[in-house]
C-alpha cells in the first residue's frame, strides 16, 4: 500500500455564499496546540469588510421577509448539517487543544444552541411584541423588526460554540451578519461556513471573515451601513472607546455582553435576539 500524503486544506473566507480569498492577498499563520503550523488563514482587509457588509445588506430584505417558520427550519437545518459533520469538527477542536470529551461537549452544545434559537424564531415576537390598549379609538400594536446588518466580533477562545452563540440569535431575528472569526483559532470558525453553505442559508445572510480584531474592529464600527455591533470578549479600554465613538457616526447599537463561559445558561437567551430588534408601533383608527 502506497503512503497517502495528506491534502492540507486551504482556508478561505465566506462572503455572499462564496468562498473567496481575501482581496488583500495577505495571510497569517495559525498554530495548533503544539505550536506547530496548522494552516495559513486569510488576513482580511478593509475591502473585505466592505464586500461582506455589502453582501449582508443585499441579503437583508429577503431574509427579513422570510416567515418565522422558514427561518426556524433553516436554523434547524444548520444543526442537522453540524451533526452530520461532528467528527470533522471534533477533530478540528482537538488540534487546538480540546480533549476528546471537551470537543464532543462543544459540538453538542453548538448543535443544541442552534436548535434553541430555531425554536425561538416563531416565538420571540409573541413574547416580546404587544397589543397596546390605547385610550382612543385606535388599534395599536408593537412588533419587533430586525435592525439590519450586525457586525459580530466573535470570541477568541471559543471558535465554534462562541461563534454559533452570536450568529444564531442575530439571524433568528431576521438580521444578516458579518462575523469576524476567532483570531487565534480561525480554522474551526471558518469551517462552520461550510456547514452554513450546505444548510439553505441564503448567500449573504452570514458572512465570516478571518483576521485581526485590532485591525478590523474600526472598519466595522465606522461602517455607515452596519446597524449594530456586538462583542463578548474583554477588549482594551482604548478599543472599547474607539468602537463606541465610531458607532456614533450612524448611531449603531453597540452590544457588550462580556462572557467567557459559553456553556452557561446565560449564554443563550431570547434577549440575545431582542438586542438586534427595533420595536415598531403601528396605529390604525377604529370606526365605520
Amino acid at each position: 500500500m502506497s503512503e497517502h500524503l495528506e491534502v492540507l486544506k486551504t482556508y478561505k473566507i465566506y462572503v455572499n455564499g462564496n468562498f473567496p480569498r481575501t482581496e488583500s492577498g495577505r495571510y497569517y499563520k495559525v498554530f495548533d496546540s503544539e505550536k506547530e503550523l496548522l494552516a495559513n488563514a486569510c488576513l482580511c482587509s478593509r475591502k473585505d469588510v466592505r464586500d461582506a457588509v455589502k453582501s449582508a445588506r443585499g441579503a437583508f430584505s429577503g431574509w427579513k421577509s422570510r416567515n418565522a417558520y422558514n427561518r426556524g427550519q433553516i436554523l434547524y437545518r444548520i444543526a442537522e448539517m453540524l451533526e452530520s459533520r461532528r467528527a470533522e469538527f471534533e477533530k478540528q477542536l482537538s488540534t487546538i487543544g480540546f480533549s476528546a470529551a471537551e470537543a464532543e461537549a462543544d459540538v453538542n452544545a453548538s448543535i443544541d444552541r442552534l436548535i434553541y434559537y430555531a425554536g425561538w424564531t416563531d416565538k420571540y415576537q409573541q413574547v416580546f411584541g404587544s397589543v397596546n390598549p390605547v385610550a382612543s379609538a385606535h388599534f395599536n400594536f408593537s412588533l419587533l423588526d430586525p435592525t439590519g446588518v450586525v457586525a459580530i466580533l466573535a470570541p477568541d477562545q471559543s471558535p465554534l460554540l462562541g461563534l454559533v452563540s452570536l450568529i444564531a440569535p442575530a439571524i433568528a431575528g431576521g438580521n444578516t451578519c458579518v462575523a469576524l472569526a476567532s483570531e487565534p483559532y480561525p480554522t474551526t470558525s471558518i469551517l462552520f461556513a461550510e456547514v452554513l453553505n450546505a444548510s439553505d442559508v441564503p448567500g449573504g445572510v452570514v458572512n465570516i471573515l478571518t483576521g485581526k480584531k485590532e485591525e478590523l474592529a474600526e472598519h466595522f464600527s465606522g461602517h455607515m451601513d452596519v446597524n449594530a455591533i456586538i462583542y463578548t470578549d474583554t477588549l482594551t479600554p482604548e478599543m472599547i472607546k474607539m468602537i463606541d465613538e465610531q458607532s456614533t457616526e450612524n448611531l449603531k447599537r453597540v452590544v457588550k455582553k462580556i462572557t467567557s463561559d459559553w456553556y452557561s445558561s446565560e449564554a443563550q437567551s431570547p434577549y440575545f435576539i431582542t438586542d438586534f430588534q427595533e420595536t415598531k408601533t403601528t396605529w390604525h383608527p377604529i370606526g365605520f
Binding site: 472607546k241 448611531l251 408601533t281 396605529w283 383608527p285
Partner: protein, 502 residues
C-alpha cells in the same frame, strides 16, 4: 386670522360650484383668549435640588421670553458644574436611602399622587406651557397636559408589577438618571422621562430646555407638594453647557436624551468607553404616503395634523408628503384650500391652530431652510393668512417641485414646512420614504388593509400611523430606527431603559 374683529354684514353666498369658503374675510372668529389672571409666575426661579429651591452657585440667571410677543416672562437659574454636582449628590443620596427601601407599591402611589395633582392643576400648566413655548392653548390643554398626567398614571401602576414585564429576568433599578429634554413638548417630555424612571426605582436629575423651563419648575413645586422624598427628583436649568456637565458626570448611571440627532451623537460620543447606559430619542423626517384609493378629505386632515401640529416642532412630524400621481393635483389643491383656513396667531387664543415658533433661533433656522428650498429650485406656497406683527410666526408652507436629494427633503426643518413629491408604485413610495438617515415615523393612507400592512412593514421607522398621524399614548412604545435614536419610551418596552435585567 385677521387682526380686526369687525364682522361683515353680507353672509357668504356661493357664486359657483367651485367657490371656496373664504374664512379670513367672511367668517371672522372673535378672539377667545384663555385668561392668565390666576396663573402665578414668580420673577425668578431657582434650582430644585434635594427637595429645596436653591440659588445657583454662580448666581447667574437668564431670561425666558414669550415667543408670541417677545416679552420677558421670568428668569431661570444657570446651573454650573458645582450645581450639577449637588443635584447628582442629592439624587444618589435619595437612591441609596429612603427611595430604594420603599415598598414598590408606595413608589407607585407617589406617582399616582403626582398624576392626580397634575390633573387638578391642568389649566395652570396648559397656560404656562403656551406662554413659554408658543404652542396653541388648544394643544397644550387637550394634548400635552392630559397626556403628561396619563404617563404618570400608566407608569404608577408598573411600579409593583415589574416582574411581569421581562419574562425570565429579575429587574433592578439602574441608579441615578440624568435626563435632558427638548423645548417642543416640555411638560410631556418631562413626564415621559420622570414617570418610568421613578416607577423602576431610580432617582433623577432633569434638565429642561433653556427656552422652555417654566413648566418643569412649576412641576418642581408640585413635586414638593406631593411629599416625594427629597432628592428623588431634582430639576436644574441651564443651556447646553449644563447638559454637558450632566452627560460627563461620573456618578450618573444613565443618560436619557430627547433632542436633535446632532446633539444625540455628541452625547453618545462623550460617554464612549464608559459604562453609562443611554437612550436617545432624536430627529426625524417622517413620510406621509397617500395612495390613490385613500379617503382624500381624511388624508388632507391627516396631513394638516402631521405637519402643522405644534408648528411642526415635532420630531415625528410628517414633513415629507409622498402622493400617488393620479390624485396628486386633487390632493394638493384640497390641501392648499385647507391650509387657507388655518388660523395663525396668539397661542393663548382658543381659535388658534398654529402658534408661535418657539424661539428666535428656530425662527431663523426655518427661514434659512425656506431660502435653501428656493435656491434648490422649489416652489414655495404659503397660506395667505395674516400673522401678528410681533413675535415669531411663520405661515403654513408647502414646498413643491422638490426631489429626493434636496436638503429640504433630507434634513429636518422642525417647522410648519411640508415638502411634496409624487410616486407611482408602492415600492417607489417605500423606497423614497426610507431614503433618509432617519427612521422615526411614517404615515400611510389607503382604503386597503392589505396595503397598510405591506407598506407599513416596509417602512424602516419606529412608528407607523395608518390613516392617522401624530397619535400618542403612554401604553405605546415610541422611538427611532437608524439615526432617529436608540431605545424606546412608553409602554412596557419603555421600562427596559430604566432597569438592569439580571
Amino acid at each position: 386670522m385677521s387682526q380686526t374683529t369687525e364682522t361683515k354684514e353680507t353672509p357668504f353666498k356661493p357664486t359657483s360650484p367651485n367657490s371656496k369658503l373664504d374664512f379670513a374675510s367672511v367668517w371672522e372668529y372673535a378672539p377667545a383668549p384663555e385668561s392668565t389672571s390666576h396663573v402665578e409666575i414668580k420673577d425668578r426661579y431657582e434650582l430644585f435640588i434635594g427637595g429645596k429651591f436653591v440659588k445657583p452657585s454662580k448666581d447667574r440667571y437668564f431670561p425666558t421670553i414669550n415667543p408670541a410677543n417677545k416679552e420677558v416672562i421670568t428668569e431661570f437659574a444657570e446651573a454650573t458644574q458645582s450645581d450639577v454636582n449637588s443635584a447628582v449628590k442629592a439624587a444618589r443620596k435619595a437612591f441609596k436611602g429612603e427611595w430604594s427601601s420603599l415598598a414598590p407599591k408606595t413608589r407607585g402611589k407617589y406617582l399616582y399622587r403626582i398624576a392626580r395633582m397634575l390633573q387638578e392643576r391642568a389649566r395652570e400648566f396648559a397656560v404656562l406651557e403656551s406662554m413659554d413655548g408658543g404652542k396653541p392653548i388648544r394643544e397644550s390643554r387637550d394634548v400635552d397636559v392630559p397626556l403628561a398626567a396619563a404617563h404618570f398614571f400608566y407608569y404608577a401602576g408598573w411600579a409593583d408589577k415589574l416582574e411581569y414585564a421581562f419574562p425570565g429576568k429579575t429587574p433592578e433599578p439602574i441608579g441615578v438618571c440624568g435626563q435632558i429634554i427638548p423645548w417642543n413638548f416640555p411638560l410631556l417630555m418631562l413626564a415621559w422621562k420622570i414617570a418610568p424612571a421613578l416607577a423602576c426605582g431610580n432617582t433623577v436629575v432633569l434638565k429642561p430646555a433653556e427656552t422652555t423651563s417654566l413648566t418643569a419648575l412649576k412641576f418642581a413645586e408640585l413635586i414638593k407638594d406631593s411629599g416625594l422624598p427629597d432628592g428623588v427628583v431634582n430639576i436644574i436649568t441651564g443651556a447646553g453647557q449644563t447638559g454637558a456637565e450632566m452627560v460627563n458626570h461620573e456618578d450618573i448611571d444613565k443618560i436619557a436624551f430627547t433632542g436633535s440627532t446632532a446633539v444625540g451623537k455628541l452625547i453618545q460620543r462623550s460617554i464612549a468607553g464608559t459604562d453609562k447606559k443611554f437612550t436617545l430619542e432624536l430627529g426625524g423626517k417622517g413620510a406621509l404616503i397617500i395612495f390613490e384609493d385613500a379617503a382624500i378629505d381624511q388624508a388632507v386632515e391627516g396631513i394638516i395634523n402631521a405637519i402643522f401640529f405644534n408648528q411642526g416642532h415635532v420630531c415625528c412630524a410628517g414633513s415629507r408628503l409622498l402622493v400617488q400621481e393620479g390624485v396628486a393635483n386633487e390632493l394638493i389643491g384640497k390641501l392648499k384650500d385647507r391650509m387657507e383656513t388655518l388660523i395663525v396667531g396668539d397661542p393663548l387664543d382658543k381659535n388658534t391652530d398654529i402658534g408661535a415658533i418657539n424661539s428666535g433661533q428656530q425662527y431663523d433656522t426655518i427661514n434659512s431652510f425656506l431660502e435653501i428650498g428656493l435656491d434648490e429650485g422649489a416652489d414655495v406656497y404659503q397660506s395667505k393668512c395674516s400673522i401678528p406683527d410681533t413675535g415669531f410666526f411663520i405661515r403654513p408652507t408647502l414646498l413643491t417641485n422638490v426631489s429626493q436629494s434636496k436638503r429640504v427633503v433630507q434634513e429636518e426643518i422642525f417647522g410648519p414646512v411640508l415638502t411634496v413629491q409624487t410616486f407611482r408604485t408602492a415600492d417607489e413610495a417605500i423606497q423614497k420614504a426610507n431614503n433618509t438617515p432617519y427612521g422615526l415615523a411614517g404615515g400611510v393612507w389607503t382604503d386597503k388593509g392589505s396595503k397598510v400592512f405591506k407598506v407599513g412593514s416596509g417602512l424602516r421607522s419606529g412608528v407607523v400611523w395608518a390613516n392617522t398621524y401624530n397619535k400618542f399614548d403612554p401604553t405605546s412604545p415610541f422611538g427611532g430606527y437608524k439615526e432617529s435614536g436608540i431605545g424606546r419610551e412608553g409602554g412596557l418596552h419603555g421600562l427596559s431603559a430604566y432597569l438592569t435585567l439580571k
